[in-house]
C-alpha cells in the first residue's frame, strides 16, 4: 500500500496511527476524557482537517471528538489496488474502540455517511446515535450515472477536473461567489492531499454495491438524517428512504444547503449534531417528539430552533404540494 501523503495540512496533535488489518489509519481525538464521544467520518474527497471548525465547536460544547482519514484518504494508508467498504467499516470500528467509550455517536457525510450506515448496521450495540448526512442506502439510476461520470472525469482529467465538477455541484453560489477569484487556492489542499489512484479505488469500491435498504431496520439507535434543501447529488428521496427504513429516525432538511453543507455551514452543523446528542443522552429525543420518522426543517442559524415540516405538504417536492 502507499503511505498517506505528508502534504496534507498538519492537523496539530494527531493520536498515534491505528493499525487495522495491516494498514495504518490516521486519526485524532480531542476533548475531555469523560465527555460523550462523537466520531466524524469524511466524504470521499475530504480529509480530517476539514472537520476542524466542527471539532472545535463540539469540544466547546463539551464533547470528545474523533476525526480520521479513511483508507485512501489524507494521512492514512492508500492501498494501491483494492479498498473494500468493509475495510472502511473495520477502520471506523477500530476508532470507536480506540476512543475507549462503550457507546459513541457517529456522524458521516456522503461516502462517510454510507460507511457510517454500514457500521451502524454491523455494530448497532456500540452506538448512542447516528447522524447520516448527504448520503444514501441505494444507488439510484441518477446517482449511479453521476458517480460513473465523476469517476470518468477523475480518470480523464485528474483530481483538478473532479474538483471542477464537484465544487459547483455541491456548494452554493453564496459560498462560491466570494471565492471565485481564489478557487485554485481553495482547490489546492484537496488537490495535494488526494491521489488519483486512491480516489479511484474508493470510487470503485462501489462495484457490486447492493442496496442497504433491507438492513436499515437493524439500526436500532436514534438516527438524525440531514439533507441539504438543494442537494443535487443525493436528493431528498434518497434520504427519505433512510427515514422510512431506520425505525427511530428523523429527517431534517437544511435550508438553502447543498450536498457539502458541512463545509459551508460548520457552525450550524455542529449545533445540529450537538443538540441531537444532548437530546439523546438526556432522554429528550422521543419525549420532545423527535425521531419516530418525523420530518423537520433546520434553522438557518445555530441560534434558532428546529421546526416540524409544515403539516399537509409533501416534503419530497420542491413546490408546496399537498401530501
Amino acid at each position: 500500500m502507499i503511505r498517506g501523503t505528508s502534504s496534507v495540512p498538519d492537523p496539530g496533535s494527531p493520536a498515534p496511527p491505528l493499525e487495522v488489518g495491516g494498514r495504518r489509519l490516521s486519526w485524532r481525538l480531542d476533548g475531555p476524557a469523560d465527555a460523550p464521544v462523537l466520531v466524524l467520518v469524511n466524504g470521499l474527497t475530504q480529509y480530517a482537517e476539514l472537520w476542524t471548525a466542527h471539532r472545535e465547536a463540539l469540544v466547546e460544547q463539551g464533547f470528545r471528538v474523533a476525526t480520521c482519514d479513511l483508507f485512501g484518504q489524507g494521512r492514512s494508508d492508500k492501498p494501491a489496488l483494492f479498498i473494500d467498504q468493509d475495510d472502511q467499516v473495520a477502520a471506523l470500528q477500530a476508532i470507536v474502540e480506540a476512543t475507549g467509550a462503550p457507546r459513541v455517536f457517529v456522524a458521516g457525510i456522503s461516502f462517510g455517511g454510507l460507511i457510517a450506515l454500514r457500521h451502524a448496521i454491523a455494530h448497532a450495540d456500540r452506538l448512542h446515535g447516528l447522524v447520516a448526512m448527504s448520503t444514501f442506502a441505494t444507488l439510484s439510476p441518477q446517482l449511479l450515472l453521476l458517480g460513473s461520470a465523476l469517476l470518468k472525469g477523475l480518470a480523464l482529467g485528474g483530481i483538478s477536473y473532479l474538483q471542477d465538477l464537484l465544487l459547483p455541484m455541491n456548494l452554493s453560489d453564496d459560498w462560491l461567489g466570494p471565492r471565485l477569484g481564489q478557487l485554485e487556492a481553495v482547490k489546492r489542499a484537496g488537490l495535494v492531499g488526494n491521489d488519483v489512484f486512491a480516489l479511484q479505488n474508493l470510487m470503485e469500491s462501489f462495484v457490486g454495491f447492493r442496496t442497504l435498504s433491507p438492513d436499515l431496520g437493524r439500526i436500532g439507535c436514534p438516527t438524525l438524517i440531514l439533507n441539504g434543501e438543494h442537494d443535487f447529488l443525493t436528493p431528498r428521496h434518497l434520504h427519505d428512504e433512510l427515514r422510512r427504513g431506520i425505525p427511530d429516525s428523523e429527517l431534517v432538511i437544511v435550508p438553502r444547503a447543498y450536498h457539502a453543507f458541512t463545509l459551508e455551514q460548520p457552525a450550524l452543523t455542529a449545533s445540529l449534531l450537538g443538540d441531537f446528542a444532548r437530546d439523546v443522552l438526556a432522554g429528550r429525543w422521543r419525549a420532545t417528539g423527535r425521531g419516530g420518522g418525523r420530518v423537520a426543517v433546520a434553522p438557518e442559524t445555530p441560534e434558532d430552533t428546529l421546526l416540524p415540516f409544515p403539516a399537509g405538504f409533501d416534503h419530497l417536492r420542491a413546490i408546496p404540494v399537498p401530501a
Binding site: M1, T5, A80, L81, A155, G158, L191, Q200
Partner: protein
Amino acid sequence: MTMLNLVASGRVLPWQQARLGAFLVSAYGALARLGAGQAAWLGGPAGVALQAQGFAAAGLVAALLRATAWRPDPWVAMRLPICEATWLPRPGGADALALGLAIGTVVRPMPLLPHEARQDDAFAAALLLAEAEAGRLLQPNLRLLKAMAASTPRAELEGAAERRRDAVAALWAERLAALDDA
C-alpha cells in the same frame, strides 16, 4: 514538505529544474518504454491502452526536455544509473504493470510547485501537464492489474504493486531531499 523555490520572477530555480527535470524525464521515459513494450505483445484493448499510455508518457518527456532550464549537475549524472536500474523489468506477469503504476502514483511533481509560481512559465506548465495527464496515465496499469484479480490472488497483486512502489518511493524521496540542498 519539499517545495520548489522560486526566483523573484516567479520561476523555479534553474538548478532545481534541472535536478527534478532529469528524474522526471527518466521516470516518464521508463513509462513510455513500458507502455510501448507491453503493447507490442498484448493484443486487444489492453494493447491499445498501453500504446496510448506510452505515447502520452513520451509526450511528457518531450515537454520536460523543452521546458526545463538544463544545466550540468554532477549529482544527476551520478544518480541517473540508479534510476535506470530501478526501471529494469523483473520476472512476473504483474511486475511491469506494477512498475508503471508505481511511477504514476508516486511521482507527482505538481504539489512541489508553490501556488505563487508563474503559471505562464514553461517548466511550471510541464509540471501541470504531468498532473493533468496523471489520471489517464494510470488507467491501463490500474485496470489491467485489477482485472488480473480474476486469476491471481489480490494479496499477490497488492504485494507486487507494493514492492515496486517502495522502490520508486525511495528514489523519489531521495530526489526530493536533493531538491532541498542549498
